[in-house]
Every structure is written in C-alpha cells, then in structure tokens.
Amino acid sequence: MRTSHRVMAVAFLTTAMVAGASACGSGFNDTPEQKSGPADLEILIGSSGQAETDAVQKAAAAWAEATGNTATVVPAQDLAQQLGQAFAGSNPPDVFYVDAGRFADYAKAGALLPYGKDIPDADDFYASLRDAFTFDGELYCIPKDFSTIAMQINTDLWAQAGLTDDDVPTTWDELRSAAEKLKAANITPIVIGDTRDRIGAFMVQAGGWIVSKDGTEATGDSPENLQALQYMQGLIKDGLAVYPRDIDTGWGGEAFGKQLAAITFEGNWIKGALQNDFPDVKYEVHEMPAGPKGKGTLSFTVCWGISAKTQYREQAIDFVRHMTSAEQQIKFTEAFGVMPSRASLRDEYLKQFPNDEAFIAGAAYAQGPVKAPKMDSVLSDFDAGLQQLASTDPKALLERLQDNTEAALAG
C-alpha cells in the first residue's frame, strides 16, 4: 500500500475506534429506576418437562389476574447459557430459576437481588436449602422445591436373585454383598451416573466433600473422599457397578427403566420418568446405604431468582411469594412430583406420596451443591475424571480436584 493509503487506513481505524469507544461506556445505570403501574414480568424457567411448564404458566396467569399485572413464563432450552447471555445483555428476565450449583457465580457477579429479608416466613423453608442460597450472610432467594438422591430397587430382579426385603442394604458392606448376589444371578447389579452428582453421595457418606462446610476451603484431597472413591472404584472394577453409557443408556433412570440393572441411585425426577416411559417397572425406593460416617446423600434445589436490574421489584417479590406459598407448592408437587421446600408441608406431602419417605428423609442429611463461584469448570473437570474412574488413580484425581478448587476459591 502506498503511504497515502496507509495513512488513510490508519485514520479510518482510529476513527472507528474512537467512534466505537464513545458509543459505549455511557449510561449504564447501576440501580434501575422502579416503574410504577402494572408490571410486565418476564419469567425464565428451566423446565423439567411439559408438566412443569404448564403448571408454572397456570400459576403465573392466576397471579397476574389477581394482581392486575402481566406475567410471561418462558421455558429455557439451556438455562445456564441463556442466563449468562441475558446478564451480559441489558435486559435480563425479571424472575428466573437459579440452580444451586450456579448460585454463587450469579450472586458474586451481582446479578441477583437479595430479597430474602423481604420474605416474612422465610424460616419455614428447610435450613439446608436456605443455606444453599445464602451468600455473604444474605439470603438471596427462596428455594422453590428440592430433590434428594435415594436408592431405587427393581423388585422383580431382586426376587430373581433370591433376595428379600431383609437384604435391602443399609451399609456399604451390605450393598456390596447384595450386588455380588445379583451378579451371581447374571443381573447387572448397580447402574450409577458417572458424575459428582451421584458418586458424590458416597463421598458425603464417608464424611468428606469437595469444600468445607462454609465453602471457603478446599477439602477434595481428604482421606474420607479417597475412601469413597476407592469403594466405588472397587465396585466398578469387580463388575458390580456400571455407568449408564456402558450399557448403552443415557442416564441411570433409563437403564433402570429398561430393567438393565437392579439398583440405581437417582432423585425424585425418576418417578415421573419411569411413569411416562417405563410404566411396567416395579420398584421400591429406599434411603441410600450409610457409609463409614453415617447416612448421606445429595440434594438439588432451585430458587426463584430476581434480577438486580428489574424495574418491578415489589411486584417480582410478590410474584415469588405467591409461587412459594403453601397451597401453590402442593399444586406443583401434584403436577410434577417435586418435594415442597417448606418444612411445614412435609407431613402433608408424605400423606399424598407415602412412597417418597426415603426421598424426604434425605433432607435431614443431604449435602447441597458446591456453593462457591468459579467452580463450574473445576467440577466438570472432576466429572471428566470420574468418567474414567475405572482406570484412574483416585488419589491423583482428588489431588487434582484439590488443586483446582484451591485455585478457584483463591481467584
């Protein structure tokens, strides 16, 4: 290029830069002004299926009519991704589901409005669930429901192996011996998901976990965790436990439904799945076997998050209060089978669903998801390692988890 053109190109570039930079960086409001008048709430949910979408839309419509506002419920295809993009954009939805595993990231980024103090009966919700949504000492949002992992046993296959009710395992050793008997009868004993969201239950039963109770210290590399992973690795190597993909299925529920295995460890959601896709399977639900340090399981919960940028703060809080009211929670439970997050509803829930005793019992000793920001890649890396647990050294795996967790918690 000749000099003159080069000069022109540079001038062009500079102009573009200046234009670009000046177009940005202007007018970003940190505290959005509240709009008065009827609210137009945008609600983004991560639905578990049509049943949930319908139920939530119905409840939202009822609220809208009663209060004279409008509420639009949109089911997300990929909630995490859509929320990520929405937060970076200038117009995120007003109300949305927040998964406990991602809560810390959003809270730390300042995307959530801490409205816990505006809920008068917040104490009615299970303490462990509230804890999952408390950041920096503040309760940010109210849990909408929860699930725990329990043990499902296929009664037909159980009887086929000559096992009875007495053989239902309540400890790790009993689990192993029951599995061995199943294997002897040519039945795949256990199918368990290849992720921390299932195997982690065993870590809890051994008394360990990925982070400390307050979520500030990394405890991945503990002897308790090692014990749990070694136990699980032993089961896999001896052919007593398989991963869903090893038997051509996508998750434990599918394998269990296709009767490819006698035992699986899944949460409440398996009820709906089995009912819809595999109605002929006869099964029982029991609490997970206790480990060296006692009973343990994992809980999963989602809360109603309100955007820090919403212009309808009061109405949004009112909406959430309506959706988490006792009557509404029972309606949701009936519609799509989750457990209500209000402790006071426990008895009523059990009256309607006596088979879920095992699930709800888990609430007492369940470990919630890791509540620390920037842990997502660490945890998915841990999952990648667990996927190859059969051929990996558990100690190395946990050391790596420890290192990564420390780095994430520090930065």
Binding site: G20, G84, F87, R245, S377, S391
Partner: protein, 377 residues
C-alpha cells in the same frame, strides 16, 4: 470468474488504466468520487461496525476480568493486563489445562481431517474426470451436495447415525465388529492402538508419560490421538467438505489438455504412471490451496461441537472455538473467553499467511484463471 461463457479478458481492465496521479482533475471526477464513496459507504459501515470494531472491543475485554455485567467500558471494570493470556500459557491451573486440551483436540482433528479430505477430494476428482464417464454430472452433484447443507441439520443426522444402536454400528455389525459407544467413549485412538498392539496398558499408562507435563498437560494426554467421539465428528466433516475441494481439483483437472494424456499413452505409460508423473505435479498448486484452506477451516470447528457433544465426553471434543464460547457465556468469564478467541485468531492468521506465502508467484505451469484470482487475494 462468474460470467457468461465467453472467455474473459486476460488481465483485469483496471490494470490497463493509466497510472494514478496524485492530483485529481475536478469536474468529471468529482461526481465519480462522491459516488464512489457513497457506493461503498454502506458496506464499509457495516463491516467496520460488525467486524472491525468487535475485534477491537474484544481485544480490550481480553485485558480485563469483566464479569459480564453491564458495559465493559465503564469505569470500575477490573483491568488485569496480560493475566488472561498468562493463565492460558504460563500459569499452572485448570484454565491452562482446558486450553491445552482444546488445542490438543483441535490439533489431532486438523491432522486427521486435512489429509483425509484432501486425498478423498483428489481421488473423487480423478474418478469423476474420466472422459466418457456417464452420469459425470450426477456424481459431481452427489459428492458436492453435502457441502451446501446446514451444519446443524447434518449434525442432527449424524447424531442419529452414530448413536449406540445406530446405523453405523449396524453396518459394522455386518462385518462382525462391535461398534463402540461413539459419543460416550473418551478413549483416544492412539491409546487404543497402542493398547491393542500391547505396547502400553491403557488402564495403567507408563509413569514416565503421566508424570511429566508439557504446558500443563501430561505427555500421556498429548499422545492420545483423537478420541472415539471426536472420530465421529471427523467423519462428519470429511464427508461434508470433500465435495467442495473435489470441485477445485476438478477445475484444475479440466485445465490439463487432453493431448497430454494421449502423448503419454503414445509413450507407453500406463494410466497410473500418467497420473503420478503428469497429473499430480500439475495439480500441486491446487493441492496446496486445498491443504491450506483445510488448515484454515479446521481450526474453526464449532457448530458440530455445539450441537453434538458440547466438549464431552471427558473434554475430548473440546475445541478452542467452543471453549472460548463456553468460558464467556457459561462461566461468565468474558476476559478469558476473549483471550482464547484471540489466540485462535493468531493461529488462523498464521495459517492464512502460510497460504499466501505458499500460493505466491510461481513460474511453473500456466495457472488457470481461478488460481490467479486467489493468488491476488
């Protein structure tokens, strides 16, 4: 040149114009100048705003640790300097490991796809270019058709084909082979081969390789080869892109005069010798073009990863393009995501420069029209 059927003039007309002068004549030239600027203005504005400015903005963001809330240009956004880049290359940690894993995956992908698609495209072009081949147009269409389809739609089809009990495994079953669980098998192909010939034990790899690292990734991981899951994506891409490159080879083959073939037959050469000694050397420029285009294209694989596997299983289908996207939009770490995008940019620019250098002026066989066009790019 996309034209009517007459041969276009040899040199572009503007080259034949008189040399430019610094002084401009007024009068006749003025409306032309104004018109010129007006005509290009919309395109220039659009390309500047949506291609140039974004790059500059992203460059800025890659030097910050912006968390995705609000504008990255307001005051108070934490500037972290070269920290994001350091985390990718120098600092020991998960970021570097993930990044190196994605580089490794893409590297094997490139090293597998480029040779495969080049060879396949060449073979198909040679086969289609036979004189007196009937249905030549049909075959050419058949091979080229996958190239024009939507990558997302094709990914859906291949998800079905490579399912555990899908068509591919069904075909393999005819030959008595038990097909793997394509999308959930994270084992590297090299590992499998080495295991099969007994050189290493895949469940107990040699400590020498697992304990020593290069840039944060153990040597054992560097030597894994593409994973089984990645192989299904490789099949998809080779299937899709070979057609385009076949057309380029065909165009080059068409420019080889028939007299050459007849002359070599007169000399007594067999068909294969003709191909090897006459055709292939004449195709060298095209081959370089195809290879370098392949190099540029394969470093950008994203759609298929997003639709089919999202990096799984065990991060063996993670590529830098997808990692950049995921880091920004899922982990809300836009600084790191932008940094990864720029490193990828640098890699691809490197490949582009390589292409231009390779395709520079050569005093060889007269180059066909289309090739000269590309060279002037």
């Amino acid at each position: 040149m996309v034209l009517t059927s007459e041969a276009p003039p040899r040199r572009p007309v503007s080259d034949a114009a008189p040399p430019r002068r610094r002084r401009r004549r007024s009068g006749l030239q003025r409306p032309e100048r104004v018109a010129g600027w007006l005509f290009v203005a919309p395109v220039v504005v659009l390309l500047t705003v949506f291609l140039l400015v974004p790059i500059l903005m992203a460059l800025w963001v890659s030097f910050t640790s912006w968390n995705g809330q609000g504008s990255p240009f307001r005051a108070g956004v934490p500037v972290s300097g070269g920290e994001n880049y350091a985390r990718l290359f120098i600092e020991d940690g998960l970021t570097r490991q993930d990044f190196m894993t994605s580089i490794r995956n893409n590297l094997y992908y490139v090293l597998t796809v480029v040779p495969l698609q080049t060879v396949l495209a060449l073979a198909l072009a040679l086969a289609v270019n036979q004189r007196l081949l009937r249905a030549k147009s049909f075959f050419r269409t058949a091979f080229y058709f996958p190239s024009i389809t939507s990558s997302v739609a094709i990914s859906v089809v291949f998800l079905f084909l490579f399912a555990n009990s899908g068509a591919i495994n069904g075909v393999l079953a005819w030959f008595g082979i038990d097909g793997p669980n394509w999308f959930s098998d994270p084992r590297g192909v090299l590992h499998i081969i080495l295991n099969a010939i007994g050189l290493v034990d895949i469940t107990n790899p040699p400590a020498l390789l697992t304990d020593n690292e290069l840039l944060g990734l153990p040597w054992w991981q560097w030597l894994s080869g593409p994973s089984v899951a990645m192989c299904s994506i490789i099949c998809l891409v080779v299937w899709t892109t070979s057609g385009t490159f076949m057309l380029m080879f065909l165009a080059a083959l068409q420019n080889i005069p028939v007299q050459l073939e007849e002359a070599s037959l007169i000399d007594g050469a067999s068909r294969w010798q003709y191909v090897r000694k006459v055709v292939l050397p004449m195709l060298k420029p095209t081959m370089f073009l195809v290879i370098t285009l392949g190099l540029i294209g394969t470093w950008q694989v994203f759609d298929q990863v997003y639709v089919m596997s999202k990096g799984n299983p065990a991060k063996t289908t993670l590529t830098p393009a997808y990692l950049s996207f995921r880091t920004a939009f899922l982990d809300l770490n836009f600084g790191s995501g932008a940094a990864i995008a720029f490193v990828l940019f640098a890699i691809i620019i490197g490949m582009t420069l390589l292409q231009r250098w390779v395709m520079r002026d050569r005093d060889e066989v007269r180059r066909p029209r289309w090739f000269r066009r590309v060279r002037s790019v």
